[in-house]
């Protein structure tokens, strides 16, 4: 259950996403500097069946932070992983934090 250093804060893209390889998993990292928020979810889009979520647009819907899949535009809540269009679909969400200049993820605790 250790926090893993993934990359530097500088490697993140403001108001957008990147993908990191963490313990063999593809993790999409989103950064909203205005709110000082970072989110980490799995990069796999279960609706479009491809590793593309890090390339989706982010924002909020009714107050929930979301990413919209670049393939078919389903929204996933970045805090819970739940798909807004179909609540039975859910993607893994990982605890993430900024420690100094580093972005750290705790892979043991996928929600």
């Amino acid at each position: 259950m250790a926090w893993i250093n993934v990359c530097g804060v500088d490697d993140l893209q403001a108001d957008s996403g990147v993908c990191a390889l963490v313990a063999g998993q593809q993790v999409a990292l989103f950064y909203m500097p205005k709110d000082g928020a970072v989110f980490a979810v799995h990069n796999y889009d279960p609706c479009g069946k491809a590793n593309v979520l890090s390339r989706g647009l982010i924002g909020d819907i009714a107050g929930q932070p979301v990413v919209a899949s670049p393939l078919y535009k389903q929204h996933f809540n970045l805090e819970t992983g739940v798909c807004l269009e179909d609540e039975t679909v859910c993607i893994p969400v990982y605890p993430v934090r900024i420690d100094g200049g580093n972005v750290q993820i705790n892979m043991g605790e996928a929600l």
């Binding site: 893209q13 108001d15 957008s16 590793n51 393939l71």
Partner: protein, 843 residues
């Protein structure tokens, strides 16, 4: 035993009658037979002029597919009834068909009156009533340069517009001292004249044509009684109509002194088994030259045959038209002939608006009105007039320009359920409301369900108002907000960004929005910022706004890989460039396919390969094709006059000029162009947003066409243009589109939803009605001046290239991307294959 019912004439009214009877219980009692003199069944004469805008005879048809067969109606096409034998109840046709009838309906319409001036039957002396007439006009316009319309009434003005659109120098010759003498008064007529002359049409009033003879410069010369002359190739008579009562007259039916088959309130002629309806009928000494009264007569006869009591009691002759972009409306007693009538006039010389109200002596009832230049009040005024609604205390408020804090006009709520909304199909407000109640929540659904608004279309604004007010009452909010973050339409945002010179999404959100934005507003704002300021779209502040396609400057495919489309302007490519493209495709093992826009698409590129692929393409001389953006895609062209036997002008050359001019323009949706070298139209320009076709007289410009999911034939916008004018019009039109369209709205839908439609667009772009053209051209020039190949800019920026990796912390590729081979090329493996097939290693 069924009776035989014969209908003579399958025009607008005859067909309305047949359709009405087919839907009535009386249908069971009759075998129906109709004679149709024209080579085709009924079509929409009211919208006949749209034939010149590209509508075909089929588009104009009023007969549903299989109508005659479904209802067991026999139609004799291209055959006219020559005689009626009332004694034996037999009609005989020109081709010799004889039919015994029990009931006979005459719906023979009218013919254009041609004054018996010597020379009236010379070549290229034409009329304007049938599709064949229009074809003759088209043919005449091909060789001629000048056209003159005889008659300055409603139809004459419409005919003049047609001649002008055909590229002829156009004249209107009117006998009376003013235009539209029947409908509008002198001051209104004078205003109309000024407006029409400003559009480049010469108006001659008070001119009596005495002779038509050989011209010197043109085919014909018109000589007037006052000694003046006018050289013209085409002479188009539009001097009124005369009822076609010849066969009725010949069989002894009563006809009026000046023509017209006399009918009573049941539309029966002097023979109780014979009815007459439409423009051939004379009721109360009146001929009705409009379609709505004819339809009312048709309904009366259907009811009479079904044994219901019904009567035709005259009809409202109010009209609203857009003549050459000028709104003109006349309601009721426009000339104030009612005893004691009082008149209010409003005239604004500067904005060229003229309005006149005729009210009763007690100022309580509206008797009539005339509107020129601005007719948005037509619907309200007509309702006051038709429903006898009491006028407000100061009736002139209805025509005075009002300040925004005052509310004048009649909200749809003020109308009784019995108020007629659509006069063509006699649909009242009650029927519209029930349809809305039953689930019709859009204008199109209402049109389909009630037919309201599908005739002359004049009632559509009122229909919309009723719809919106009903929806609001039912608790639907008519919400035009872009999304939850911005309570504005795209057009509002465009204006805010322009006026406040907003340069970033963050700034706009701060000032006018809330929350963090979403995948709707971000790309929309990104696109507006790009079309307004044209900054590099991947700069830090814009990057998060772009869809993945824009972010990676390539098109994402189903498996998360991208396709690459370099620009091939006009579809012209040298063998060397083609080889270079092939080499790149081969090296990276990309799937290659020719697109519909005459270029080459390379599929299967992984994100980390994109910069390498583009480096090679740019080194070979290619540039970005913007296939990933909502922007100009391609200008397709045929080979044109350089090679083609039929080519009239250099379509490839023009296509390349246009593509280079507008490449990189960000817009509400993608834009496609095409240029054809002659009217054979091999480039299919009429299915594009902007289509250009070469003709002997110059370039013809078509706009707002679409292929794809909802095909739309483009509208003819202007003819015979030189290249400079053509480009100027396209600059203005595209800038206006970029400014005013909704998000993801193609030009076709944009125009269809535009109040005033094509004519309005022409007024804005050609006549500069909004005084915007200067700004629109500047806006375009800025985009052109700041063009950059986004791939070139990206390759020069190390920071930006960092993004083109699958993982931020590893050089590995996405191992879920698996290709198999098919027909010698790669494609993404399907789910089954992923389990069984070996992966093809990609370099």
């Amino acid at each position: 035993m069924k009776q035989t019912l014969v209908v003579i004439g399958n025009g607008m009214v005859g067909q309305h009658f047949l359709a009405g009877l087919a839907a009535s219980p009386a249908k069971a009692s009759y075998d129906m037979i109709t004679f149709c003199e024209e080579p085709r069944a009924a079509y929409d004469r009211v919208h006949l002029s749209e034939f010149f805008a590209g509508k075909t005879a089929e588009d104009l048809s009023l007969v549903e597919d299989g109508f005659f067969a479904t209802h067991g109606i026999t139609i004799h096409l291209g055959d006219k009834v020559a005689t009626i034998d009332r004694e034996h109840k037999i009609v005989t046709s020109a081709k010799g068909v004889t039919v015994r009838y029990d009931k006979l309906v005459l719906a023979t319409g009218s013919y254009p009156f041609v004054p018996p001036v010597p020379g009236h039957d010379r070549p290229q002396c034409l009329v304007y009533r049938t599709i064949e007439d229009l074809e003759a006009m088209q043919a005449a316009a091909k060789t001629g340069k000048v056209g003159a319309v005889v008659g300055g009434g409603l139809l004459g003005l419409e005919a003049a517009k047609a001649l002008r659109d055909l590229g002829l120098e156009t004249h209107i010759v009117e006998f009376a001292p003013r235009l539209m003498a029947v409908q509008i008064d002198e001051a209104g007529g004078a205003m109309l004249r000024r407006k029409i002359e400003a559009l480049g049409v010469t108006v001659h009033t008070g001119r009596n044509t005495s002779l038509i003879t050989d011209g010197e410069r043109c085919v014909n010369k018109m000589c007037f009684a006052d000694g003046e002359e006018l050289e013209t190739d085409v002479v188009l008579f539009s001097a009124g109509i005369r009822p076609r009562d010849d066969i009725a007259r010949a069989c002894g039916l009563e006809v009026g002194q000046r023509g017209g088959i006399v009918i009573d309130n049941q539309c029966k002629t002097s023979d109780p088994d014979i009815y007459a309806i439409g423009e051939c009928a004379l009721w109360n000494s009146m001929i009705f030259g409009l379609v709505a009264p004819g339809y009312a007569m048709a309904r009366t006869v259907v009811a009479d045959l079904a044994g219901e009591t019904a009567s035709f009691t005259g009809a409202d002759m109010s009209t609203k038209l857009k003549l050459m972009g000028v709104d003109v409306a006349s309601i009721g007693d426009a000339h104030a002939k009612t005893p004691g009538a009082m008149v209010y006039t409003y005239q604004n010389g500067a904005s060229e608006v003229y309005k006149r109200l005729v009210v009763s002596a007690d100022k309580k009832q509206l008797l009539g009105a005339v509107l020129v230049g601005e007719a948005s009040g037509y619907g309200t005024l007509l309702q006051y007039c038709l429903n006898g609604i009491e006028l407000p205390e100061n009736p002139d408020a209805l025509i005075l320009p009002h300040r925004s804090d005052e509310s004048v006009g009649l909200g749809p709520d003020a109308l009784p359920a019995s108020a007629q909304i659509c006069s063509c199909y006699d649909v009242n407000k009650g029927a519209v409301c029930s349809a809305i109640e039953a689930g019709c929540t859009t204008i199109n659904a209402l049109k389909t369900e009630t037919k309201a608004g599908t005739g002359c279309g004049g009632c559509v604004p009122l229909l919309k108002a009723v719809l919106n007010s009903e929806l609001a009452k039912h608790g639907y909010e008519v919400n035009t907000d872009l999304c939850e973050h911005f309570p504005y339409t795209r057009q509002d945002l465009f204006n805010l960004i322009r006026v406040e010179e907003i340069k970033t999404f963050a700034e706009l959100l701060e000032k006018h929005g809330k929350g963090r934005g979403c995948e709707v507003c971000k790309p929309t704002v990104g696109s507006i910022l790009a079309s307004q300021w044209n900054d590099y779209i991947l700069s830090k502040e814009h990057l998060g706004l772009q869809d993945t396609n824009d972010t990676f400057l390539a098109n994402m495919q189903k498996d998360g890989t991208y396709s690459v489309v370099p620009r091939i302007t006009g579809g012209e490519i040298s063998p060397d460039m083609l080889i270079a493209l092939g080499q790149v495709g081969k090296k990276y093992q990309l799937y290659t396919k020719i697109t519909g826009g005459q270029r080459v698409d390379l599929f299967g590129a992984r994100v980390e390969q994109l910069p390498h692929i583009w480096k090679e393409l740019i080194d070979a001389g290619f540039e970005s094709g913007h296939a990933y953006g909502k922007s100009l895609r391609t200008v397709k062209s045929c080979v044109g006059s350089s090679w083609c036997r039929y080519g009239v002008d250099d379509s490839v050359g023009l296509a390349i000029t246009l593509e280079n001019r507008y490449k990189g323009l960000r817009s509400p949706h993608k834009i496609k162009f095409a240029v054809s070298g002659c009217t054979r139209e091999c480039a299919e320009a009429q299915s594009k947003d902007i289509g250009v076709i070469a003709t002997e007289n110059g370039w013809n410009l078509y706009v707002c066409g679409n292929g794809g999911m909802k095909p739309r034939h483009a509208d003819l916008f202007a003819t015979g243009l030189d290249k400079e004018t053509l480009i100027r019009y396209i600059d203005r039109l595209l800038s206006f589109y970029v400014r005013t369209a909704d998000r993801l709205q193609r030009t076709s839908v944009w125009m269809e939803n535009m109040e005033g439609g094509l004519d309005y667009l022409k007024a804005v772009v050609i006549d500069d009605k909004l005084g915007l053209c200067g700004q629109l051209e500047e806006q375009m020039q800025h985009v052109i001046d700041t063009y950059q190949c986004e791939w070139k800019t990206t390759l020069a920026d190390e920071e930006k290239l960092k993004r083109f990796r699958h993982f931020i912390n590893s050089d590995q590729a996405d191992d879920a991307v698996v290709f198999v081979e098919e027909r010698g090329q790669i494609r993404p493996a399907n789910d089954e294959e992923r389990k069984h097939f070996n992966r093809v290693e990609v370099a």
